[in-house]
Structures are given as C-alpha cells and as structure tokens.
Symmetry: C2
Subunit: 149 residues, 2 copies
Amino acid sequence: MLQFTKRTEYALIALVHLVDRRGEFVSARELADRYPVPPRLVAEVLKELQREGLVDSQRGAAGGYALARPAADITLAEIVTVLEGAPLLTSCDTGFAGTAGSCEVEPTCPIRSPIHRVRDRIRDVLSHVTLESLAHPNALPMVTPTENR
Amino acid sequence: MLQFTKRTEYALIALVHLVDRRGEFVSARELADRYPVPPRLVAEVLKELQREGLVDSQRGAAGGYALARPAADITLAEIVTVLEGAPLLTSCDTGFAGTAGSCEVEPTCPIRSPIHRVRDRIRDVLSHVTLESLAHPNALPMVTPTENR
DNA sequence: CCAAAGGGCACCGATTTGGTGCTATTTGGG
DNA sequence: CCCAAATAGCACCAAATCGGTGCCCTTTGG
Ligand code: SF4
Ligand code: SF4
C-alpha cells in the first residue's frame, strides 16, 4: 500500500524525541505522556529497535532508551528496513539478500527490472534522510538532489 | 508496508504490454495467456483502469483495452494513485485533497511536516517514471536527477 | 444467434496491521 | 531490604487489507 505502518511512525516520533535528549535515557512512558500514542505499542516498538541495535536500553527504575549512534548516522531507510523488512515495491528479489523470489511471473516479468530501478531510487531518497534532518528540518538543506519543475 | 499491491503490478504488466500494441485493442485473455497471472484479476484491474480513464475499452467479440493516452503522458504516480489511493507514507493529510487527518497525534506530531517532505520527494520520483520509460528502459536516460554516490 | 469479450458487484480466505495481556527480570531509591 | 518503575519476551486477538473468485448482465463481430 506504499504507506508506512503505524509502528514505523511511532518509532520515528520516539527517535526524534530521543535526539533532543542526547545521551539521556528516556522511558517509553515519558513518550506516551508527551504524545497521544498507545503506550504499550511504543514500548514494543522500542524493544524491537533495541534488538536491532538502533537504540541502547537501560533497565530498572531510571531506565529507558537512548540513541545507539549519532542522529546523523541513522537513516530513514534503516529504520524502515528494521520495522517493515527490506522488500520494497515488489515481492520479488528484495535487492539486499535472501528471500528468493516466490513470484510466478518472475521468469517472464517485463516490469521487474524497470521497477527495481525505481525501487532503488526510492531507497536512495530514504537513505539520504537522517534522523538529524527529521528532527531539525531547517538545519540542513536536505541535499535537494531532485531539481524538477 | 511500502510495497505495491499485486493489483498494481498486474496493471503495470498489462499497461506495458499495451504500449507495444499501440492503438490496438488487447483482450484480458491475451494478457493472461502471455503471462502467468490470474486472468480474472487482470480483467478486474483493467476494468478499474477503464473507469478511471487510463485506458479505453471496446466491448464485444473483438474487444479489449488500449491506452487512452500516449505512454509518455501516463506516469507511475498516476497508476498507483488510481489503484491504491493517493495517501502515501502517512495516514494523515493525503496532500492531494479531502480525507481529513483522522490521526490522534496530528496536532502535536513532530514528524508530520518532515515526513511529508519525504513523501513529496517520493511522489516526484513516481511522477517522473512514465509508461514509456517502463516499457523501453534504455530509450530515455530516465532524467537521472539524483546524483548520489 | 452465439461465442467471445467487457461491466458490475458481492463475496471469501489469507495475510498484515494495530493493539493488548501476561509474566519475568532488572534496578534505583526509600 | 524491598518495592515501584522500567525493560524483555512472547503470545494473542480484532480489524483492515489483499489476493482472488462467483455470478450474472450487456455488447458485438462473425
Ligand atoms: S516478478 Fe514481476 S510481477 Fe513478480 S514480483 Fe517481481 S515485479 Fe512483481
Ligand atoms: S500526524 Fe504524525 S503520526 Fe499521525 S499520521 Fe501524520 S505523521 Fe503519522
């Protein structure tokens, strides 16, 4: 459906919030208090981000989550890949590795190659959006590669 | 899930095939014979494309479908919009019209604006891929606006 | 007049998505 | 020393979406 899942959006909200608390450990509860999001779901998403190494976690009373790396080094492409999996646009050939194409059309598919080119372009867009640029949109000019119209 | 639906893929396969038959009316059956796709589904998709004015249809014995406009004037963005709806990336503010944001977070959402910028970039990518460029990938250099890496 | 084709629309099973329940473990502070 | 707060893990469910069919009607060329 060419749309982010709510999980991804919640992750982005949480991660952007973490950018402001550089280094500090922020609890899932604090996030749920600040934004009208389902507390448990945000917690679940943060756990997943921890498992994948995007954030560090500290347990116990004063625990919480913090970015595992500088905000400028974490890309939107990476976040999406962690939460929704790599395959973009088509179900064949994820482009990264594994999950061999289970599509019946693949051998004679006339759009596979061109669509994959489009997919790569979209991945490029997502790869050039960093957490830093999401948190402070006005800071960087966002590279502005497309010069259309 | 940031992935096209099968309906969209079948539409693209069909439309690309229509490009080669410039002007001729091609039946859904012919398409299903040529590619291993569910005949009925392809037919259903073509009907939808007809309703939205992307293809012309002719009924009766020698009937079928043909492109309603030059292949160079039909963009991937348009096709996707017809089959999957306009909203891209987020569920708030489709960016085109209507469907007022039903998201609870919207008033205080910190990622809405930046994400919409990304969404617009992706729409740009899809808007610059024409049916012509999908059918004959080597003909045009595909504009190549992004000059990364 | 009939077979081949499209038009309309409802419907179903499988998958995905959004969200919750429950329990265990860690840990700082009173 | 113990409890409240917090993460870790994992199962589970309801709703939405998606892939695909069934059924019947209308058009039209041979
Ligand atoms: S092979 Fe063609 S139809 Fe099958 S998933 Fe890839 S692009 Fe889509
Ligand atoms: S308001 Fe924020 S959370 Fe809600 S849909 Fe838009 S971007 Fe996503």
